[in-house]
Symmetry: D2
Subunit: 347 residues, 4 copies
C-alpha cells in the first residue's frame, strides 16, 4: 500500500482526488495539507467525508511530506506550485502537479498567457505532459507530471487520431467548448453566484483563454506542423460538472467516414478510458459524470467538407483528478485503470 500526500486538499480538485483514491486498492491518503484551514478535520470542512475519511488538514511542510509519503499530488492553484513542487522533486519524490505551472514547454508563453516569468524553466523540460493516451511511455519514467488542463484533454483526445492520420487541415481547427461551473474552482465570485449563473449561458475569454497555448503545443507535437493554429472558445454551462467540446475542421480531400472510424479505432481500441460512440450516438456530459471516461463521436458533413467531432469528459475526473490517478498508476507500474473504473451516478 503506497502512501499518498495531497497538497491543497480542500479545493474541488483536491477533494475529487480524495474521492477517487478512496476506491484505490493499492494507495492510501496519509497526508493532506491546506493553507487556509490547517488544523481542521477534513470532515469538518467537507462534511460529506464523515465516516469516510479521518484526516486532519496540515500545514505544508515539504520535508515532512517527502519523508512520510511515497507519491504526492499538488492541487495548488496556478502559480503556487512553481516553488513547492521543485523542492519535492529535488528530494526524489514523484509529483503529479494539477496546476498549469509545468505544462507549457516554452517559458516565454508564461508571461504572455499567465502573467508571470517562469522561475524554473528547467522543470518545464523535465516535466512530462500527463496525457496517457499520448505520452504513456514517457510517463513510466517521469518524476514530474504536468497533469493536463480540462479543456485541453477534451480537445486533444478528440483531434489526435485525425491529425496522426493526416485526415484534416491543421489550419482550420475550431474548438467550441462548454464547461460546467466547477471548472472555475471553489472561490465564490459574482459570475458563479447561483442567481447569476443558473438560467444563463455565455462565452468567456473569447480568443484569449490561457488553455490555448497548451492545446496548440500538444497538437503541434502530434502534427509536427508549426502552422497548426487553433481557434478556441470556452463557454459556461449552468451545471456542476462536464465539458463538451464541439470541434470543427476541414477534412482533407477524399477522406471518407471509414477513414475516420479507422483512425479512431487504431488510436483508441486498447484505451480503457476512451469510449467511441457509434454513428447513431453522440456524447452527452451526463454519460461521463464522475468518471474517467472520454466519450468521442463524430459526423462527417459532405455538404461543407467538414468533420464535427464531439467529446465529453468530466472536467474534475478525466479533466483533472481522475487523469492524475491514471498517471499515478503509470508512474508506479500498476494497471492503468486500477481503482478508476466506476459507473456514473445516473441520473
Amino acid at each position: 500500500m503506497k502512501k499518498v500526500g495531497i497538497i491543497g486538499a480542500t479545493g474541488y480538485t483536491g477533494i475529487e482526488l480524495m474521492r477517487l483514491l478512496y476506491f484505490h486498492p493499492r494507495a492510501r491518503i496519509t497526508r493532506v495539507t491546506s493553507t487556509s484551514q490547517q488544523g481542521e478535520d477534513i470532515s469538518r470542512v467537507h462534511p460529506q467525508f464523515k465516516k469516510i475519511y479521518n484526516l486532519t488538514l496540515e500545514e505544508l511542510d515539504i520535508e515532512k511530506l517527502a519523508e512520510e509519503t511515497d507519491i504526492i499530488f499538488s492541487a495548488l492553484p496556478h502559480g503556487l506550485a512553481l516553488e513547492k513542487v521543485p523542492e519535492l522533486i529535488k528530494m526524489g519524490k514523484k509529483v503529479i502537479d494539477l496546476s498549469s505551472d509545468f505544462r507549457l514547454k516554452n517559458p516565454e508563453d508564461y508571461p504572455i498567457w499567465y502573467g508571470f516569468e517562469h522561475p524554473g524553466p528547467d522543470y518545464l523540460e523535465k516535466s512530462v505532459y500527463g496525457l496517457p493516451e499520448v505520452y504513456r511511455d514517457k510517463l513510466q519514467d517521469a518524476y514530474l507530471v504536468a497533469n493536463p488542463g480540462c479543456y485541453p484533454t477534451s480537445i486533444i483526445l478528440g483531434l489526435m487520431p485525425l491529425i496522426q492520420e493526416n485526415l484534416i487541415d491543421c489550419t482550420s481547427i475550431i474548438c467550441d467548448s462548454k464547461s460546467g461551473v466547477s471548472g472555475a474552482g471553489r472561490g465564490a465570485k459574482l459570475p458563479f453566484h447561483f442567481p447569476e449563473c443558473t438560467e444563463n449561458f455565455k462565452a468567456y475569454r473569447v480568443g484569449n483563454h490561457q488553455h490555448t497555448p497548451e492545446i496548440e503545443q500538444e497538437l503541434r507535437n502530434i502534427s509536427k506542423d508549426p502552422a497548426l493554429t487553433l481557434l478556441f472558445t470556452p463557454h459556461l454551462v449552468p451545471m456542476i460538472r462536464g465539458i463538451l467540446s464541439t470541434i470543427y475542421a476541414a477534412v482533407n480531400k477524399g477522406v471518407v467516414k471509414e477513414d475516420v472510424e479507422e483512425a479512431y479505432q487504431k488510436a483508441y481500441q486498447n484505451e480503457t478510458f476512451i469510449r467511441l460512440m457509434d454513428e447513431t450516438e453522440l456524447p452527452e456530459t451526463k454519460y461521463v459524470y464522475g468518471t474517467n471516461f472520454c466519450d468521442i463521436g463524430f459526423r462527417l458533413e459532405e455538404r461543407t467538407g467538414r468533420i464535427i467531432v464531439v467529446t465529453a469528459i468530466d472536467n474534475l475526473v478525466k479533466g483533472a483528478a481522475g487523469q492524475a490517478v491514471q498517471n499515478m498508476n503509470i508512474l508506479l507500474g500498476w494497471p492503468e485503470e486500477t481503482g478508476l473504473l466506476q459507473p456514473v451516478v445516473y441520473p
Copy 2:
C-alpha cells in the same frame, strides 16, 4: 409624473424596483444611488438595462435627493438605513424602506435578533408596516413605510384570515418555508456558489431566523393573543426566485372546510394581488414568478385535526420590490395595482 429616487439601486431589490417601475404610468425613476459603483452607468453594471434605462449611479447626497425626487425607496442592506432614512423623513419626504430597520416595534428586539441597539426608537413607532392587506388605512397617511420581509409576507397573508376568524389554535403554528437563492442577495458567498448550491437542499438558521419576531409581532397584532408563538424553519431551494410556505396549525373544534373558505373569501375577495386556489389546485412558485401575486391554497386534514396552508410569492416582488410599489401607490393615492399587474414569464 412623480419623480422617484432609489437608494442602493444595484442589489437585487434595487434592480427589481427598477424593473417594476419601468411599467408604471405615473412614476419615473430620476435618481439612483450606489455606494460601491457611483459614477457608473446603470447599464454598465447591469447590462440587461441597455436601451431600457439611461441613468448614472450617484453618490448618496441626502439633500439633493430630497430636493429632486417626490418619493424615495431605500434598498440599503439591513443596518444601513437606520441613519439615512430619518434624515429624509425630517426633510418631509415619504420613504419606503425595504430593509428590516423599521419593522420591529419593540426596540429591544433589535439587539436580540439583529445584534445592534436601535438608534431611533421613535421611528419604530412612526413607521407603518407595509402590508397593504392588513394596514391599508394607516398606509394612506404614512411617511415611513417599513416594507415587510419576504418570509413574513408569505406567512402573514396565509394565516391572517384564520386568526381573524378564530379558526386555529394560535400556539400550534408551524411554518416551514422554502426560498429561492435571490433572497440571500447579490453578495457572492460559498453557500450560494453555483456548484455548492445547485443540486442541494437544506434548512438553515433553524429556530433562530431574524424574521421570527417580525412574523410573531404581526400575527399577535391580528390575534390580540400574546400567547401566540410561531415555529419557523427556512430552507434554501436551488432556484432563483420564489418562496413557498407550508403552514401547519391545529384547527379549533368544529371548524369545517367551508369555514376556512369563507374566512379567506371575506378577507381577500377584493384583494387584487391575492389569488385563492380552489380545492383541486395548490400554489406553485412558478405561477407567481416575477409578479406581485400571493397564491394561497389549503387542505383541512380531519385525521389529524390540522390545517395545511400553502402560500407562494415571488420573494423579490410581493416579498420586496412589488409590495414596495404597491405601498407607493397607496401613499400617493393611486389605484393599488397601478403598473403592477403583469403576467408571469412562463415557463
Copy 3:
C-alpha cells in the same frame, strides 16, 4: 383596439404571445383556440393567468375566427398550419404563422428537411419571412408572415452586416448554437425529463437540423452568393430560455475591427431591438431573458484570421412570440416597439 386571435394558445409560443400582448396598448386578445383543451378556461390550464386573462379555449372554427378578429397568430405545431392558414388568408385576414410551414421558398426543401410534400407552394411565394431587420419594407404589405425560427433569428442577425459589407468568406461559416429547453416545446419526452436534462449538456441533430435550409436560404438572399454554405450545430443547455449562437467565419483580407464595428453600426444603429456590445462585453442569455432584444458582440482574432460573433436572444421572444408581435406592429402600421420594450426579470 384591434382584436387578436391565437390558434394553438396553450403551447409555450401561444402563452408567450398572451404574455406579451397583455402589455400591448392597441391590441387585445379576444379568441384563443386549442385542440386538446377546448372548453377549458385558460387559467385552469395555465394557473399563472389567474386574474390576468379571462378567456375560454375554443375549438378552431376558421370562419368564426376570421369574423371576430382583426389579426391572427397561428402557433400550431409544424405541419398543422399548412391547411388552416391559407383558409384564413383567403378570407382576407392577416396571419402571422409561427411554424415553419411557410418559411422555405423552395418547396423541394420540405420533403428533404420536414418529411412532407408542401400542399400549397403558392403560399411559399406569397409569405414574407418575418425578420423585420431584413424585410421591414415587404412586411408592411404582407398578408402572410412566416415568423422565423429561433436559431435562424440568432444567426442571421449576427451575420447579416458582415455579409452585406462583404467582410467574410461565405463558404467558411460555422454556427455553434446553444438553446434552452423550452425550444423543444411543451411535450413531455424523455430527453427533456428533468432528471435526464438537468446537469447535462449535449449536441443534437448534428449536421441535419431542419433550421439549416432556412438559415442558408436567408443568408444567400443577403449575399447573393449561391456558394454560401453553413455548418450548423445545435446544443441543448439545461436552462429554460435563451439561445446563444457562437458564429465563426474567416474574414476577408485586410478587414480590421473598425470595419466590423462600422458594418454593425450601419446595419443596426436605428434598430430598437438590436443591442451591440462594446469590446469589453459579450452577450449572455440572461441579459435578454423574457425580452425581444438580440444582443450582439464580436472578437476579431488576428492569429487565425477569423471573426467570432456571439449573439443572444430569448428563443420564445425574439425567437418566436416577440418577433411575431413586432411583425404585427409592422403589419398594422404601428411603431415597431409598441408594447414590446420590457426590462428583463433579473436575476
Copy 4:
C-alpha cells in the same frame, strides 16, 4: 461470488442497483430483465454503462431467473410485483422487492391508498420491512424483503430514537418532506418536464400521499401507541436526487437537549450508515448524494416546546437501491456495509 438478478432493470431504481453492485466484492449481476426493451444491450439503453456492463436485457422468465441466480431484486413499478415475486418465493429464492407491494401489513390499506385489492395477503405477513436499523434481526432469516419507501426511510430513522425513549408526543408529529425529481421515476410527464419543473417549487398530494400509512404503520410499531398519527406533506425540489425531511414534534415535559443526544447515540452509535450532525451542523442533501448515508441533525426549541429534526438521504440509495443492497448483505450473512461505503461525488 453470488449471482444476482434484477427484474425491471432500466428504471432509475434498477440502474442504481447496477451502479452500486458494480462495487460489490461478493455479488455479480448476471441477469437483467426489462419488459419494454428486452433484447437490447443495457449499454444501448443506458450509454453510461459502456465499458462497465456487458449485459443484455431479457424477457422476464421466472423459472430461468430462479435457476440462474442466487438472489433477486425486483424493481418493478408498484402493482406489478404482486404476482411475480410470490412465484420466486415459492421456488425458494430470496427476493428484495423495491415496490410498495409488500410493505403494508394491513391488506385493507391497499384499496384505500393504492387503489387495488391485495391478491396475496399471506405475503404481507411473511415479508419483512427492510429497514435494517429497525428490523436487522428479522431480516437475517427473511425470504421476502419489502424494501422501504424513500420518504418513510427519511422519516422513520429521524423519529425512531425519540419515540423509543418516549421523548415526544406521538400525536403531534408533522413531517414536511422535500424530494428531488428522480423520486418520480423515469416516465416523462408534464410536471417533470424540464421547463415546468426547474425554477419551481411546490407541495403535492397534501394530506393523501400513499407513503402516509407506511410511515404510520412503522412508527406505531415502534411506539406501541395506536393514537400515533402523522401529518405528512411531500414537496418537489428542482434537483435530481435527495430527500430532506423536516420533522416537528412537541417534546414531553422536562426533555432537554442531552436526552435527545443520548437517544440518538444509543440508537445509532454502531450504525454505519447513520451520521449524527453535531450542534453546529445541519444535514444537506448534497452531503449524502449518491451514498447510503442518512444524516440526522436536530434543534430543541424551548420557546415553543418543540423539537425540529432534519434528516437527509439520497432517495435512490438509502431511499431505494442502497438500502436494498444493505438488505442483501444481511440476508446473505455478509458485513452490512460490504460494497456500500462510498464518498459523495462532490460538488
